[in-house]
Amino acid sequence: MSQRSDSAQPRQLPGSLNTNRRLDRWLKIDRDGTVTVFPGKVEIGQGILTALAQIAAEELDVALERIRLAPAATSYSPDEGVTSGSRSIQEGGMALRQAAAEARDLLLQRAAARLDVSLEQLTVADGQVTARSGGSVTYWELTSDDLLARDATGDVAPKPLAQHAVIGTSVPRRDIPAKVTGAPSYVHDLDLPDMLHGRIVRPPSPGAQLTALDEAQVREIPGVVAVVRDGSFLGVIAEREEQAIRALNRCQRIAQWRETAALPEPDPRYLLRADANSEVISEKSGDAERATTTLEAEYARPFVAHASLGPSCAVARFSDGRYTVWTHSQSIYPLRHDMSKVLGVAQEHIVITHVEGAGCYGHNGADDVALDAALLARGVPGRPVRVQWMREDEFGWEPFGSAMVVRMSAQLDGEGRIANWTHDLWSHGHSTRPAGKDGVNLLGAWYLERPVAAATPGNPALPAGGSHRNAIPLYDFPNQRITNHLVLKAPLRTSALRSLGGHVNVFAIESFMDELAATARADPVEFRLRHLKDARARAVIEAVAAKAGWRRGEKGDGARGRGIGFARYKNLGCYVAVIADVEMGREIAVRRAWAAVDAGLAINPDGVINQIEGGMIQSVSWTLKERVQYDRERVVSRNWEDYPILTFEEAPEVEVVLINRPDQPPLGTGEGAQGPTAAAVANAIYNAMGVRLRDMPFTRDRVLAALA
């Protein structure tokens, strides 16, 4: 029997519109002269909501002030999966652009009928539709409840570039005024009537079992309402926050645990001896000149923490068998999926609403604390419970960015060109977000009397990749082999940290390119261009070199120097090249850094620049300073003294050149600076002092050891 292919396969629609096809899932034209947009992507400090408002205003031809943004909620928002991977503009933004363009078209059809003119006769300004013959009508008069109660067709083209008036302008962020005046802005600030305060008593080490607790000693503390114990999951609830903390402290003093963790040595090279699934992810053989010189090098990074400034927080209420949860999760639907498994209620009986949190930079404790709050709320039906992790919980229990080791080997031919290139990387998985393929990825679930096991850890698939993100070089080498050695069994919890494996792979590739350039006696910029055909890649390297005043072959003076790093994020996102200037004093300092970025069409240029600036500074912090410390059983980095990050005294001056390409699709930006910056710093240190640092972080001790 033959199939009719035209109707069987629905038309591919832009971004998340393809899987959320109803127009009214995305926006609503209100009679009061406003437009409500329902994004499934969430604000995590990256400015996405401002950019989405710009897109809607642009396509609808209404003033930006008319756009309202509904918080993402499982009760009405489109399911856009996770806000991660620098995909929000590409997925959410492009969906909204199409939906808004179709909404505008429907409004114009109504206007044409109302004014009895053809569509070509109509123009729109701020929601007012005017016919050339003189009549006019507004969107607010034309709208009705059923206007957008239909699927998108994909038949309407978004506005042509030349007509853009709002997209491409640096509209100020919508959220900043509230944040600088101290208005409630975060889930941490929610304050519901009758709200109680909860704290979780985490075990001293991963997998530890609670063996004894005299609950009476906790209940006697004034204000304590409940002690919730379920297996080795333990929480306290009190009327006042300081009372909950007092109860937590007492629990920590008197609870007894059986510890079983066996953590590895601090050097990430333990990965090289672990069982791994090895897979060749790219192989190329071609003609090359005879190789004359071989170079090998090994690079490594320890576990790195997200280290949000605001510890994870959630509010939950349980009543009539239903849960209501407020969370800063990046993935409200996947969270609901996993919570329903743990709580034993249907997904429809859990309503999850997003409220902004502190910046997360990937998968931190946001989802876990939402389950924590629900588990405590179950113990006090009817009353909302606010749970905030303590600083020690955040460092001790967030999933870290995995430790990684990369081994590189390459051969140069007599002309100073790379003839062979191999890249082997060892890492744990970089994705243990909720709604994994099996199990439940929520911390509290693993400690219950009837525990729900964690999902099998894994990696996002290529081309984006996880541990292997950016492992395949963008350079044109005639021969290459890239192998991913994935170590599934992780001694510490790992998950997505901004750029995933990209930070380490780009650090390794770009450091190694510098080592090869030095061997070939070539200038690092020229050497990169020699191996790079992609015109946009070349353009960012040339732009940053011009901006920083790069001088061919310039050597550092023994204490100061500069280096360059480059990548196209995920090999499909934005192009970023970074130059860093370092200076060796007591510690290594990055004094200045420049970046050039090409993110295609920049919806909000200042938003792109802000993300790249922040990424550079954060990457300098990771690269120079950061390392999660642990002993054989416990994570011992528990506060900012044990886990120092870059301070205001150490922060570099940064400058970003934006290469705007309005005729090209927008490309994800949020994570693009992480890898190139790390490499630029390593290369600058080599340029300054002639020593090659291959193990992050680049502490004073490591510099001295390298110099010795």
Binding site: I44, G45, Q46, G47, P172, R173, D175, I176, P177, K179, V180, T181, G182, A183, P184, S185, Y186, H188, D189, D191, H197, R240, E241, E242, I245, A307, S308, L309, G310, P311, E356, G357, A358, G359, Y361, Q388, M390, R391, D606, N610, Q611, E613, G614, G615, M616, I617, Q618, S621, N639, W640, E641, I645, L646, T647, F648, E649, A651, P652, E653, V654
Partner: protein, 154 residues
Amino acid sequence: MAITLIINGAEHGVTAETETPLLYVLRNELKLKGTRFGCGRGQCGACTVLVDGKAVQSCDFPVSAAAGKSITTIEGIATDGRLHPLQQAFIAEQAAQCGYCVSGIIMAAKALLDAKPRASECEIRAALKGNLCRCGTHHRILRAIRRAAEEMNR
């Protein structure tokens, strides 16, 4: 015990154990949510307020020690409906990403500029020694503080 606090120029009677950190009284009793919990150990500055003009980390400052002193929070620095020059400068420079650190940083900067209106770049950076920013907005924040200083000296 009952404690009288002078917050943003107004007297408030609150009831709390003496050793309760000022932070929780501000946030939960007085509903001033702009002062934020970051570490509970005075290491990150998210909870910075002014006590008699000096920057103090309210997460490890007992409420009893604040009794009778003049406390200023982020909610109290605008005057007559006009934002403080620091607040205006942070908006003008778009000096925030997630913004969680921002109110503490504005308060630390206010303490500095009130005492030393012509603070140098080095002094500004040193005054923010106790404030962390995780998004990497340092460069914009420093620019905003310099801009506010210029405005305040005009």
